[in-house]
């Protein structure tokens, strides 16, 4: 590309469009963080459901595994950021949204451990929260599976208000599947395709 090449007005506009498209298409995410978080929510929910169903609690603190997932989330985010040589405008928004989500999940878990009881499950509130960052991230990155996942979480939240605790765990597993695991797998496969195309 030359610095002093004379450009016509049309060429200038074309160049602006081309560069903006190039910058936009540079943003790719592996989806690894989404997959790990989604798989964990599905696993914890199903295990909790199984324990309630069998009435045999062999792994009481299964949800403490989510703390491990938070470490993975932070690790994947930092690794992805290091691999990229630019910072997108949207990243600031999503970083704040996911940080707020993390804080709310922690506070809600703490509230549940202090005031929660078996008769009144707060699974609905968790599903309500799951939908928020997923829906916003999907909207920001124009990722339809994530937008759908967020809406599904809210749908499952409504259903859970009319179901028993045992069923809530199955709904929670479904929310993890739709909000993170499936979108994560889609992102992963699209990342692999892009990588293969660039080799």
């Amino acid at each position: 590309m030359n610095e002093e090449e004379n450009l016509s007005e049309m060429e200038s506009l074309r160049l602006i469009n081309e560069m903006i498209s190039k910058a936009k298409s540079s943003f790719v995410t592996t989806g690894a963080a989404s997959m790990v978080w989604g798989a964990l929510i599905v696993f914890c929910s199903l295990l909790t459901w199984l324990q309630i169903y069998l009435n045999y609690f062999f792994f009481v603190d299964v949800w403490s595994l989510t703390l491990v997932a938070v470490f993975f989330q932070v690790y994947f985010s930092i690794r992805e950021r290091k691999l990229r040589n630019f910072l997108a405008h949207d990243e600031t928004i999503t970083t704040y949204v996911w940080s707020a989500f993390g804080i709310c999940i922690f506070l809600l878990s703490f509230y549940n451990s202090k005031f929660g009881n078996n008769d009144q499950s707060i699974s609905s509130l968790f599903m309500l929260l799951y939908g928020i960052p997923t829906f916003i991230t999907g909207g920001v990155y124009k990722n339809k599976p994530m937008i759908a996942g967020g809406i599904l979480c809210w749908g499952l939240c409504i259903i859970s208000m009319f179901t028993e605790n045992t069923t809530d765990m199955l709904l929670m597993a479904a929310s993890g599947l739709f909000a993170w695991l499936i979108p994560g797998i889609i992102l992963w496969s699209s990342y692999q395709k892009k990588r293969a195309a660039n080799v």
Binding site: M1, N2, E3, A23, K24, N85
Partner: protein
Amino acid sequence: MFKELDPILHSQLRLAVMSLLISVKEAEFTFLKEKTNATAGNLSVQVNKLKEAGYIEVIKQFKENYPQTICKITPKGIDSFEAYVLALQSYMNPNGQ
């Protein structure tokens, strides 16, 4: 009436750099080089011209013991870019329709 095109921006490489920087919050020099396919020397000269005009901010730092140059568009740069695009549009559509 045609608006005058900003001579700082009306250059292929400088316009490409500004278009890239307006699309992101900040970018490393390597990102600009990769996307514009320009040589490091040429790009460096044009980045300096944009910096001198106050259109971009250039931060030089070290990342894992390697020098790193980060470029970021300034509010003045955003205004100039917007004015440039408006001027271009007035050329494309002189009747303002």
